[in-house]
């Protein structure tokens, strides 16, 4: 009896010891900062840096969320997501469908279509920064310089250009995801429809596409979530400009916190970002829960 109790205590002690590094890190770098961020949102930054910040309670939350700046941030972010996510998925799916065949040399094409996974956001952004440069850029040479300053300095084209870079950088990932999905489809169904004499387009629309809908939804959600977190391409290509035309939520957060010394304002934006992504993650979890239960039925 005594010995069994001793073994139990020993096991529990080992358990706590093994989870301590992970739980300790989560406490210090995830949970504490999340609570602290919410708390910082209650304090208004002083007009000059050396004065103490000033407790205003929920007032700052209300004023930031109700501000036109926040509405503009959200508008730009939504525009960016709408430009980059659907088109990115369509291109990835089209390439995967194109390469889903057994012809000589197809492996080379698959490697090429996957190749952009090797580029980071910074690499992709610097490549396009030079391509779009009005003096030396080849794309500017081919498509025009947009009034001599390049499209990154044009308020109408800056955000679409950033979306284009994002789409290109994600082609590899989307292609790999869609190819894996196509390969996992039940081949018998596709073969049967071929025998039935359905045309390639009808087969794709009526059989392949419905079978792919879970993975398309999945790609859409992670695309939207990463779209809300897209920072590097904005920083390298436009810095939120020209004239705030590409100022997305996360870039505003960064500038308020680290350039304008306004942590209270940035904290409210952080909490807003957290809540938005939380809702999107719930949609994703809910969806997978449902899919799992279908699979078990």
């Amino acid at each position: 009896m005594q010995r069994r109790f001793g073994r139990r205590v020993h096991e529990a002690a080992l358990g706590y010891l093994l989870i301590l590094p992970a739980i300790g890190a989560f406490g210090l770098f995830v949970f504490y900062p999340l609570v602290r961020t919410a708390y910082l949102g209650f304090y208004l930054a002083p007009p000059t840096p050396n004065l103490p910040s000033h407790y205003v309670g929920f007032h700052q939350y209300a004023s930031v969320i109700g501000s036109s700046e926040f509405a503009d941030d959200l508008g730009h972010t939504a525009f960016f997501v709408l430009l980059s996510v659907p088109l990115g998925i369509v291109i990835g799916l089209a390439l995967a469908n194109l390469a889903h065949t057994k012809v000589p040399g197809i492996r080379l094409f698959r490697t090429i279509y996957s190749s952009t996974v090797a580029t980071s956001t910074a690499v992709a952004s610097v490549i396009f920064f030079t391509l779009l440069n009005p003096q030396i850029g080849l794309l500017s040479y081919v498509f025009g310089k947009e009034g001599g300053n390049g499209i990154l300095n044009n308020p109408h084209w800056a955000l679409p250009a950033v979306a284009l870079v994002t789409i290109w950088q994600n082609i590899g990932f989307t292609f790999i995801l869609m190819s894996a999905a196509l390969q996992s489809l039940p081949q018998e169904v596709l073969e049967a429809s071929k025998v039935d004499g359905a045309s390639a387009f009808v087969r794709f629309r009526q059989i392949t596409l419905p079978l792919l809908s879970p993975i398309l939804f999945f790609a859409g959600i992670i695309g939207v979530i990463s779209g809300f977190q897209a920072f590097g391409q904005i920083d390298l290509l436009t810095q939120g400009g020209p004239n705030h035309a590409s100022l997305v939520l996360i870039y505003d957060l960064y500038q308020q916190a680290f350039q304008y010394n306004n942590p209270g304002f940035a904290a409210v934006l952080s909490i807003a970002l957290f809540v938005i992504l939380l809702l999107l993650t719930f949609v994703q979890f809910w969806f997978f829960q449902r899919r799992v239960s279908y699979a078990n039925d």
């Binding site: 096991e11 739980i23 900062p33 090429i112 003096q135 894996a180 920072f231």
Partner: protein
């Protein structure tokens, strides 16, 4: 047999069309990379030449060593390697240990602590960046390697994936091992971890890519070239040396090369590795 010949012709025609489309698509995808490689091998005068030069007739390979040395790419790549390897080593260790405890050990609060680990998946790092910056500042760690590693030593995705994998481990084997006097740590490192190499490898690849590609946090906590990672180094190169664009092009290639090599080497784990993080919001 005119009909079979007709069908044969049609099949060849279709195949030609497919190749044309395949090649055109490959051209569009590769164009930005191709131009960057070509421009890295041209002189600055040749780069601005119009019409553009699309093939380097006398490639200047020396630009790569200029980027590596005076462009500091050598230092940036070394820094990224140090930070990424340390981060991955920590993440794998903390995740394996925690997942083992959650599956094979009994202790009060086990469920709630696992739930807390899962809950971290719902907190985007960007939303906690201000207090994290303050913490690193108070610890006196700004502009050091630990600043780049510490916030990422544990990862809920790893714990989640490893727990799923460990759960499918037959409990009879555990009981048999225990009867043989095999202690928990030996059981973990000799049996459980080796058997689960595929999932550990897939998560390792995912962790490596996410750490290597980090941008916002390294931008915020580094101030000098001696600790800047390659992503931030590239930003530095593009913003301060933009007049020497040949060096910028070469630096961009050097920055992408290690990951390109890594992905070719780990081609088979790629799909699992890329989608491993998909459970995180």
């Amino acid at each position: 047999m005119p009909t079979t010949e007709h069908a044969h012709r049609r099949r060849i025609g279709r195949r030609v069309v497919r190749y044309v489309v395949l090649i055109a698509a490959a051209g569009v995808v590769l164009f930005p990379i191709y131009i960057t490689v070509v421009d890295a091998l041209l002189s600055p005068q040749q780069i601005v030449h119009r019409p553009p030069i699309l093939f380097p007739s006398s490639p200047r390979w020396s630009t790569f060593s200029t980027a590596y040395q005076s462009g500091n790419l050598g230092i940036y790549l070394r820094n990224s390697a140090i930070v990424t390897l340390a981060t991955v080593a920590f993440e794998l260790t903390t995740s394996v240990l925690a997942a083992y405890a959650f599956v094979f050990l009994r202790f009060p609060g086990r469920k709630i602590l696992f739930f807390a680990s899962l809950a971290t998946l719902m907190v985007p790092f960007e939303a906690t960046i201000i207090p994290n910056y303050q913490t690193i500042d108070h610890l006196g760690l700004l502009n050091t390697f630990p600043a780049l590693v510490l916030p990422f030593i544990a990862n809920g995705v790893g714990i989640f994936l490893f727990r799923q994998a460990f759960l499918s481990f037959p409990s009879e084997v555990r009981d048999a091992a225990q009867l043989d006097g095999c202690g928990h740590l030996r059981f973990l490192f000799r049996i459980v971890a080796p058997i689960n190499r595929p999932v550990i490898g897939a998560f390792g690849l995912f962790a490596f890519l996410s750490s290597w590609n980090q941008y916002l946090w390294p931008l915020v906590v580094t101030q000098t070239n001696s600790v800047r990672t390659v992503q931030i180094g590239l930003r530095q190169l593009a913003q301060t040396n933009f007049s020497q664009f040949d060096v910028v092009f070469a630096g961009t290639i050097l920055a992408a090369l290690p990951i390109a090599i890594l992905l070719v080497a780990f081609q088979r784990q790629l799909v699992a590795g890329l989608t491993a993080g998909a459970v995180k919001g």
